[in-house]
């Protein structure tokens, strides 16, 4: 147990204590519990339904993946958890979003905003364009640290930033802190963004297709670093991806989303061993294989894809595939 787990977290929040309890009793309040989340967008003539009652949960320290194709509603779920979606004038959001036992939908926009960047944070697809081009990495870390501690000194922030940059294997953190995003490579910016998202020791990290803009080797490398970081800080992760290979390696639990509905859920190993829903099977068949044969033909729309949700039973103790 590292001391910085408790030191870095904002005092007075429920998360840390519960998480410690979770280890011993195996029962606790979920970091995130979404119940029947519905989203519609109001248009000029009609409203379009984007999410048809999504329910999912992320337990403390759990890494949960949300998998689906583009346009299935993955990203709007992330925006809804952060409360960003609710700021859009045309969005109608219904349902409960409980975060560390607190119903977020009952909060004022101001109270919800205060959780962002402090208790929950997000990693974006394209690291280089997601960092502000006219501020140094150090300045941006300072801004983020000030979200949790408005009075933090620049030097203290710099030390903390350097420490967390070292955790993502950045060997010269001081040089990186003085740099601007355009002076760093995409992979470097990705690590910076991961470190920045973890800077305030959030309870929940939402990663929206992290590193999709990077090449595969760099992506793989940064995902390993991210996994190590969330493990050592005991952070829950909601991992949004369309990349099954990455999901299989990274996630404990998988939710498959298709056209705004969760079609299958269960422990990662179970889903990959035994995909039950027609869409999940199609999704797995669509993964290109290194053994050749090219990209398989997959039908785009089948009635079976809209079949009811398949739920795999929880696995009491994590067991390997073989």
């Amino acid at each position: 147990m590292t001391p910085d787990v408790t030191d870095g977290a904002v005092t007075g929040m429920a998360g840390t204590g519960d998480r410690n309890g979770a280890r011993e009793t195996g029962k606790s309040i979920d970091t995130l519990a979404i119940r029947d989340l519905r989203l519609r967008f109001r248009g000029y003539t009609e409203t379009t339904t984007v999410l048809h009652g999504i329910s999912m949960r992320v337990a403390p320290e759990q890494r949960v993946a949300l998998v689906g194709e583009s346009g299935s509603g993955k990203t709007v779920i992330a925006r809804a958890i952060l409360g960003l979606l609710q700021l859009l004038p045309g969005a109608i959001v219904n349902g409960d979003i409980d975060f560390e036992g607190q119903d977020l939908t009952g909060l004022t926009t101001r109270a919800w905003r205060r959780l962002r960047g402090v208790r929950m944070s997000m990693i974006f697809q394209d690291p280089t364009s997601s960092l502000n081009p006219v501020f140094t990495i150090g300045e941006q870390f300072h801004e983020v640290h000030r979200r949790a501690d408005p009075a933090i000194r620049r030097s203290v922030s710099g030390d903390r930033a350097a420490a967390i940059l070292e955790e993502v294997s950045i060997t010269e953190p001081d040089r990186v802190l003085e740099s601007y995003p355009f002076q760093l490579s995409g992979g470097m910016n990705q690590r910076v963004m991961i470190a920045m998202a973890m800077a305030n020791e959030p309870a929940l990290l939402i990663a929206d297709e992290p590193g999709t803009a990077l090449d595969v080797t760099v992506q793989d490398q940064t995902l390993r670093l991210m996994r190590r970081l969330v493990d050592s800080h005991r952070t829950s992760v909601l991992f949004i991806s369309h990349n099954l290979g990455v999901v299989r390696e990274f996630a404990d639990r998988v939710y498959v989303i298709y056209q705004g509905r969760i079609v299958e859920e269960g422990p990662s190993a179970a889903i990959f061993r035994d995909p039950r829903h027609a869409y999940t099977q199609a999704l797995m068949a669509a993964a290109p294989r290194i053994t050749g044969g090219g990209i398989p033909d997959v039908s785009e729309d089948e009635p079976a894809f809209l079949a009811p949700r398949e739920v795999h039973p929880p696995e009491p103790t994590p067991t390997g595939d073989g």
Binding site: G117, S121, S129, S185
Partner: protein, 342 residues
């Protein structure tokens, strides 16, 4: 060499070339336009001999390129010659009249930046709303009428119908301020005379505002346009996901990247103010370089014309240089040389 230093040197070298070009151009044009400066200066009663003597003293009978040689030789000693209009060295005249003009232009530039940028930020933050629309109307009004029109309108409204501000001049005759910098706003403070300072402020308010209005409108419109574009960037969404208040996102994360493209245009606006100041000065009887400039042009006062034009050009170039350096300072890509990325 440091990129900013290299930029500074290159810009300074180019400025010197521009100044030489301007001086040649004005030198030739001033001599081509009809009329004998010596005759105009001495008046209709002077004898032919007197006129010939003055022409000789001014080297007017020599070829233009030799005259230019004399001019450059004098300029190297810091001597711009004697004005035939005031019978004083041109440098003395400029030292007397330039500060008033610069004070007016600086005050207008401060208004342009101090009002234009915040209005643009507000407009972009509340885009589509009533605040945005009101600011856009005002900004459009500002850019659509030239400053001398605003000068007349403001003078009528706030000095004549509603006599809040004095109608003309720089300072009431009740005050006697020892010139130190020539900037009355500074000199009154140096003299420790708050009443005189207030008086100087009330005098400069209307002409500075009239001069600044189009710049304020331009600055607000540019800032808004650039910021609206910046608002669509991923780093703004990232700032929102970190829970930064909208206020801070507007004033810092969206404003800073938007400022750089605006600055170049603002530099040009500042330069335009130097020209527009001539008309505004005429309307408000502001004792600046404009009245002197017009008088010497009408009298074909060769030395004074060249001196005035050169000093205005130099001010223009220095202002542009400052803007370029500001851009370099604000834009890390310039400050640190080329970006690497990838």
């Amino acid at each position: 060499m440091h990129p900013v230093l290299r930029l500074l040197l290159r810009r300074a070298g180019m400025s010197a070339l521009v100044l030489i070009g301007v001086s040649v151009l004005i030198f030739v044009i001033a001599r081509v336009i009809p009329g004998d400066p010596a005759r105009i200066a001495l008046g209709p009663n002077a004898t032919v001999e007197q006129v010939a003597n003055l022409r000789d003293a001014l080297h007017l009978d020599q070829p233009v390129w030799r005259q230019y040689g004399h001019f450059i030789a004098d300029l190297a000693r810091g001597d711009l010659g004697v004005s035939l209009y005031t019978n004083r060295p041109v440098t003395t005249d400029i030292a007397q009249f330039l500060p008033a003009t610069l004070e007016l232009v600086f005050a207008a530039a401060i208004l342009m930046i101090g009002l234009g940028l915040p209005l643009g930020i507000l407009s972009a933050r509340y885009r589509g709303g009533i605040i945005d629309n009101s600011i856009r109307v005002v900004a459009l009004l500002g850019v659509s009428a030239p400053s001398f029109v605003w000068a007349v309108i403001l003078m009528l409204l706030f000095a004549f119908f509603l006599p809040i501000f004095p109608i003309a001049g720089r300072l009431s005759t009740d005050f006697l301020i020892e010139p130190v910098t020539g900037f009355l706003l500074v000199d009154t403070l140096l003299a420790g005379n708050p009443a005189a300072f207030g008086n100087a402020v009330s005098h400069i308010a209307l002409p500075a505002f009239a001069l600044a209005l189009s710049g304020i409108g331009q600055a607000a419109r540019l800032t808004r346009a650039n910021m609206v574009e910046t608002y669509d960037r991923p780093y703004i969404e990232m700032a929102r996901s970190y829970g930064f208040p909208e206020r801070r996102i507007a004033g810092r994360f969206a404003f800073r990247p938007s400022l750089i493209p605006s600055l170049t245009i603002l530099g040009l606006d500042f330069a335009a103010m130097l020209g527009n100041a001539f008309l505004v000065e005429a309307i408000f009887a502001w004792p600046g370089l404009s009245r002197y400039g017009v008088a010497v042009i009408l009298r074909k006062d060769l030395n004074a014309i060249i001196g005035t034009v050169l000093i205005i050009s130099a001010t223009f170039l220095i202002a542009n240089l400052i803007v370029d350096l500001l851009i370099a300072w604000l834009n890390p890509r310039i400050r640190h040389g080329r970006g690497t990325g990838g």
